[in-house]
């Protein structure tokens, strides 16, 4: 895949405190590299992620947004990720409906034990964003022109 050297994507990853943030920590302590384009924001639970945050990230120029939470059934708060799953399904469906490439959004369930999964997920996601290129559809078009 040809990689545009100029393009440095901005990628926001929302990670729940209990599983995915710990999974990211594990990826770190296992030295499992993934591109520096990914920046993690810690939230207590995936159910804390408001669609507003995701749209805000796109508005401010993010090229991809990924949300990670505990696996369904393993939520620290028992049910949070079930609500998050419905919310994100509907939001992503809407973005797709509006013509936003559906590769720019992703939800992945990563447990605290899955450092490897965290790292591979991020690598895949970044690669996907590189292949999609800069987010021209959602960003602040008028300011950039």
């Amino acid at each position: 895949m040809p990689i545009n050297k100029e393009f440095k994507p901005k990628i926001v990853a929302f990670c729940c405190n209990w599983c995915s943030y710990a999974g990211a920590d594990l990826a770190g302590s296992s030295r499992l590299a993934y591109p520096a384009d990914v920046k993690i924001i810690k939230v207590p639970c995936s159910c804390r992620v408001n669609p507003m945050f995701i749209l805000r990230a796109f508005e401010k120029g993010a090229d991809g947004v990924i949300m990670c939470g505990c696996h369904p059934g393993d939520c620290h708060y028992s049910t949070g990720n079930y609500y998050a799953r419905r919310r994100m399904t509907l939001l992503f469906s809407m973005l797709d409906y509006m013509g936003v490439e559906n590769g720019r959004t992703r939800v992945e369930w990563v447990s605290a034990a899955e450092g490897v999964k965290f790292s591979t997920t991020m690598n895949e996601f970044v690669e996907k964003i590189y292949s999609l290129g800069e987010n021209v559809r959602l960003g602040d078009l008028r300011c950039k022109k």
Partner: protein, 320 residues
């Protein structure tokens, strides 16, 4: 209409209700507006009920619930879904409402009439299945069923979901597939989809009419007016903001929207806003089972519920 006025007067006179929530004549025949009536004289003089009385009055009951005594409210079949949803959300007080379910044979869209080429409209009268239209340039006529609002083509049925008494006959005017328009967009390529919505949404002037008329969008203070999200209301400064506003607006009413179509009816720019709400309704039906907001007063709502086996968000990708 006369029957409604007579009954309203009786209920006012015997003290059952303190006021009547209905429609009053507008400056033109095609723009009656919601109004409270407190006297028999006011009713006789200003009350109107006809094909152009599309406004859904249930939202006004939020304020009316805070007033002294009961309010007589006139609800069309589809309006009763909104009223139920408001009861579900503790926004209206059932005890404060006396509901007369009024008959409806579909409501008219003046824009449709104008778009058919009729200009200089002076008056429109209903005559059975036909509309007699007086214009500056002479008289013409049009089939009633050709001038219906979009929502009436996908009518939810003639049954009132909640009422104290019924006056008048209703009919089911549905003659189109409810999700046909949504499906059409879903089949487009991402570029076409984007172009379609970009074109529609760039018309938005953020007048907030869609929000203010929506019976589900009834927050005391909208998030776009508050400081809670650093998104306080202002004109759109970038091309994304209108999208964000409309996505969030639709998301906030997802699972609560009864598909009453008021947003599209009132939009001064003619943006088909119901396409957002209906997309969420379609997804909810497909992913989590058929759900009609307002059909059941005690329903929990699809976004505050879950099942262990819900589909994953990646379904959006897999579905293509």
């Amino acid at each position: 209409m006369q029957k409604i006025v007579e009954r309203a007067k009786e209920l006012l006179a015997d003290g059952t209700v303190n006021r009547v929530l209905g429609w009053k004549k507008g400056d033109m025949c095609f723009n009656p507006e919601p109004a409270f009536f407190e006297t028999a004289e006011d009713l006789d003089e200003n009350f109107v009920y006809g094909g152009f009385c599309g406004a859904n009055l249930s939202k006004y009951m939020i304020d009316a619930s805070k007033l002294e005594g009961k309010t007589l409210v006139l609800l069309k079949p589809c309006d009763t879904y909104s009223f139920n949803q408001l009861i579900n959300e503790h926004r209206v007080d059932r005890e404060k409402a006396y509901i007369i379910g009024v008959g409806c044979k579909g409501k008219l869209n003046i824009e449709t009439i104008k778009q058919s080429g009729v200009k200089g409209i002076l008056n429109i009268t209903e005559n059975g299945d036909m509309l007699n239209i007086e214009t500056l340039y002479g008289n013409t006529e049009m089939k009633y069923s050709d001038a219906l609002l979009e929502r009436c083509h996908v009518c939810k049925g003639k049954e009132h979901k909640i009422y104290d008494e019924l006056i008048g006959e209703s009919q089911d005017t549905s003659d189109r597939e409810r999700f046909a328009e949504v499906e059409k967009i879903e089949k487009m390529s991402p570029e076409e989809k984007f172009a379609f919505f970009q074109k529609e949404l760039s018309k938005c002037i953020r007048c907030n009419a869609c929000r203010n008329v929506c019976p589900a969008c009834s927050c005391r203070k909208c998030v776009f007016d508050s400081t809670k999200f650093d998104s306080s209301q202002k004109a759109n400064t970038d091309s994304f903001e209108e999208k964000m506003f409309h996505i969030i607006r639709a998301f906030h009413v997802a699972g609560r929207c009864t598909d009453c179509g008021e947003c599209s009816r009132v939009c001064p720019q003619g943006i088909p806003l119901h396409l957002f709400n209906r997309k969420f309704i379609k997804d909810i039906n497909e992913f989590y089972g058929e759900y009609q907001a307002g059909a059941d007063v005690d329903a929990k709502g699809p976004l505050t519920e879950y099942t262990f086996g819900d589909c994953e968000p990646s379904i959006v990708k897999e579905r293509g």
